[in-house]
């Protein structure tokens, strides 16, 4: 037995969420007294691959097949399932990213494994039971699921587990999986990546705006604050519905659920659907004119005041703080 971790890369680089997943998988391997094999698919430089050993990968399988350059979930699932068989891995871990969501269920079906999606904590393993905690009801609750199959697949939520440095051997091996042409019916035509912006699901800090900002022309100050903090920008549902901001920024029950270290909500009243999407944030700051706004009930810090006065003051304070740091 072993643990297999699929290490997702973006243009040949591993992101923090990948290292979180490696650390998580390493900890599970230690819990069960076994080894950790990482598998990387696509073009990733050797130095980058070797960095996986810092987080505890005993072995690193590299799949450099040109046909697998672009992510195609059907083909990647076949490769990862084959690697799991080869390594006799009974636990497969991956990130619950957009790609991971398309991948994990296919791997689980191939391996006849139970799937715990969006795990937020280490599994509890005791007296033959294997239980994993995840978010449910769009952030309004947590569910603990028991995986009763011999093999298990776990996808880890971003920002849910800390990166832990733990040096291991990290021997790199080429892995040439069987290629099934019917796995490549879907074809990637174009990848459009905006590299200058922090991606919302991965962000450690999120600056979010609501209808209180009155119009899309007033987002400049939020973008400035986000830029200074290295934060992603987000918005409430009415804002994306009105077309002020893109749907990909909509946080809440029917948008994206986020779990940053810091969520700053500006001019958002805090409807139950919005609160669901941010409840896993570690610290919540609410800025709102209305002292009765429901968001204050779930906030850690609050300012009852006009966003147009408060946000520029925060920007000035962050600049001052950064200058002194």
């Amino acid at each position: 037995m072993a643990v297999l971790i699929y290490t997702e890369n973006t243009s040949g680089k591993f992101k923090k969420s990948t290292f979180e997943a490696v650390s998580y998988a390493r900890t599970i391997a230690d819990q069960s007294g076994t080894t950790l094999t990482a598998i990387s698919i696509g073009e990733v430089p050797v130095e980058e691959l070797a960095s996986l050993s810092k987080y505890g990968a005993d072995k690193i399988l590299q799949v450099a097949n040109a046909q697998l350059k672009n992510f195609i979930n059907q083909a990647y699932a076949s490769v990862i399932a084959e690697a799991a068989q080869k390594e006799s891995a009974d636990i497969v871990v991956l990130s619950n990213s957009f790609s991971g969501r398309g991948l994990a269920p296919r791997i689980a079906v191939k391996l006849e494994a139970g799937l715990a999606d969006g795990a937020i904590a280490l599994p509890e393993i005791s007296s033959g039971q294997f239980k994993v905690k995840k978010v449910a009801f769009s952030g309004k609750a947590f569910a603990t699921v028991e995986l009763t199959s011999a093999k298990k697949v776990i996808s880890l939520s971003p920002n849910a587990f800390q990166v832990i440095e733990k040096q291991a051997e990290g021997k790199i091996e080429e892995f040439s999986p069987a290629i099934k042409q019917t796995d490549f019916r879907a074809m990637v035509k174009e990848v459009i990546q905006s590299t200058d912006k922090v991606s919302l699901p991965d962000a450690e800090i999120v600056v979010s705006g609501g209808r209180g900002l009155k119009g899309p022309e007033n987002w400049g100050m939020l973008e400035e604050l986000a830029g200074l903090l290295g934060a992603a920008t987000a918005c409430s549902k009415p804002v994306s519905d009105a077309g002020w901001r893109s749907h990909s920024e909509h946080v809440g029950q029917t948008g994206i659920a986020v779990s940053p270290n810091l969520y700053i909500a500006v001019g958002i009243s805090g409807a139950i659907q919005h609160l669901a999407g941010v409840s896993s944030s570690k610290v919540i700051v609410v800025i709102n004119k209305d002292p009765e706004a429901p968001f204050f009930k779930v906030a850690d810090y609050g300012i009852v005041g006009d966003a147009f006065e408060v946000v520029p003051k925060l920007i000035a304070a962050v600049k001052e703080y950064k200058a002194s740091a």
């Binding site: 992101k15 979930n73 059907q74 990213s97 957009f98 969501r101 398309g102 991948l103 994990a104 269920p105 689980a108 079906v109 191939k110 006849e112 139970g114 799937l115 715990a116 999606d117 239980k131 978010v135 449910a136 009801f137 769009s138 309004k140 609750a141 947590f142 569910a143 603990t144 028991e146 995986l147 199959s149 019916r185 879907a186 074809m187 035509k189 459009i192 990546q193 991606s199 749907h247 990909s248 909509h250 029950q253 029917t254 810091l262 896993s280 610290v283 009930k297 906030a299 850690d300 810090y301 609050g302 300012i303 005041g305 006009d306 006065e309 003051k313 925060l314 000035a316 304070a317 703080y321």
Partner: protein, 245 residues
């Protein structure tokens, strides 16, 4: 073109979520159930793609008789017919197996789901179904256009998007952007009563995931209010006290 839209019956978005039986069961007492909002998007797109006699839309739900109100809503919105697999939807694997079994007997050109259901949020059914049917799947799509026997879809990735071309048939999970949900009109509501809704008994499935326990998030402490004039202090507090910047 024959399109199958998989729909879930979920608690309304305003529901306060509580549990019973020692936190092992979702408390449905007094809860209003609705058509899953993402499934509404999938359904709306399916109707657009088949408008003007270009095809048919079937909806499928795995649920007990209590989910028929939601199925009729989907028919009122514009689906042509409906299938209910008569079972409690145990988990994504159970649901995917039921749908795969139905599709194997009744082939479709395109199968749509919502990106996730707003109760268990797994985003699992679309990809499991793709795997079970051995066809492509895209779990979270923002755009879907069909041209002949092939489609162009846009899927979300962290910090960007990806455009794929996929031959039919395949499975896709619709997210915001794919279509605007449709509101049923009076004619739709009237005709929904007489549109075909067939009930099929489930196939046996060996399950491998059990929901063993639920809990609500811990309440946060009292909010610490900072006066607007001292906004600058907030940054200091976030640095020294909360240690998040």
């Amino acid at each position: 073109m024959k399109i199958l839209v998989c729909i879930s019956n979920v608690p309304d978005t305003t529901t306060k979520i509580t549990f019973t039986d020692n936190n092992t069961q979702f408390n449905t007492n007094g809860v209003q159930f609705i058509l899953n909002p993402y499934d509404e998007i999938a359904l709306a797109r399916a109707i657009e793609l088949t408008e003007g006699g270009k095809g048919t839309v079937t909806v499928i739900n795995i649920g007990e008789v209590s989910s028929e109100a939601t199925i009729r809503k989907a028919l009122a919105i514009g689906a042509d017919d409906a299938v209910r697999i008569n079972a409690k939807p145990h988990d994504a694997w159970f649901v995917a197996k039921q749908i795969a079994n139905y599709v194997n007997q009744n082939p479709f050109d395109l199968v749509l789901t919502g990106r996730e259901s707003i109760d268990y949020n797994g985003s699992k059914v679309a990809a499991m179904l793709g795997e079970l049917l051995d066809i492509p799947s895209v779990s979270i799509i923002k755009k879907l256009d069909v041209d002949g026997d092939s489609a162009t879809v846009e899927r979300e990735i962290e910090g960007g998007k990806e455009i794929l071309t996929i031959p039919l048939p395949f499975v896709a999970g619709a997210a915001e952007g794919v279509a605007e949900p449709k509101i049923p009109n009076m004619r739709g509501i009237m005709s929904a009563r007489t549109k075909p809704l067939i009930v099929v008994e489930p196939v046996a499935v060996i399950t491998n995931v059990e929901y063993s326990h639920f809990e609500n998030p811990a309440a946060r402490g009292q909010v610490k209010l900072v006066s607007p004039d001292e906004s600058a202090n907030l940054i200091q507090m976030l640095h020294t006290e909360a240690r998040v910047i």
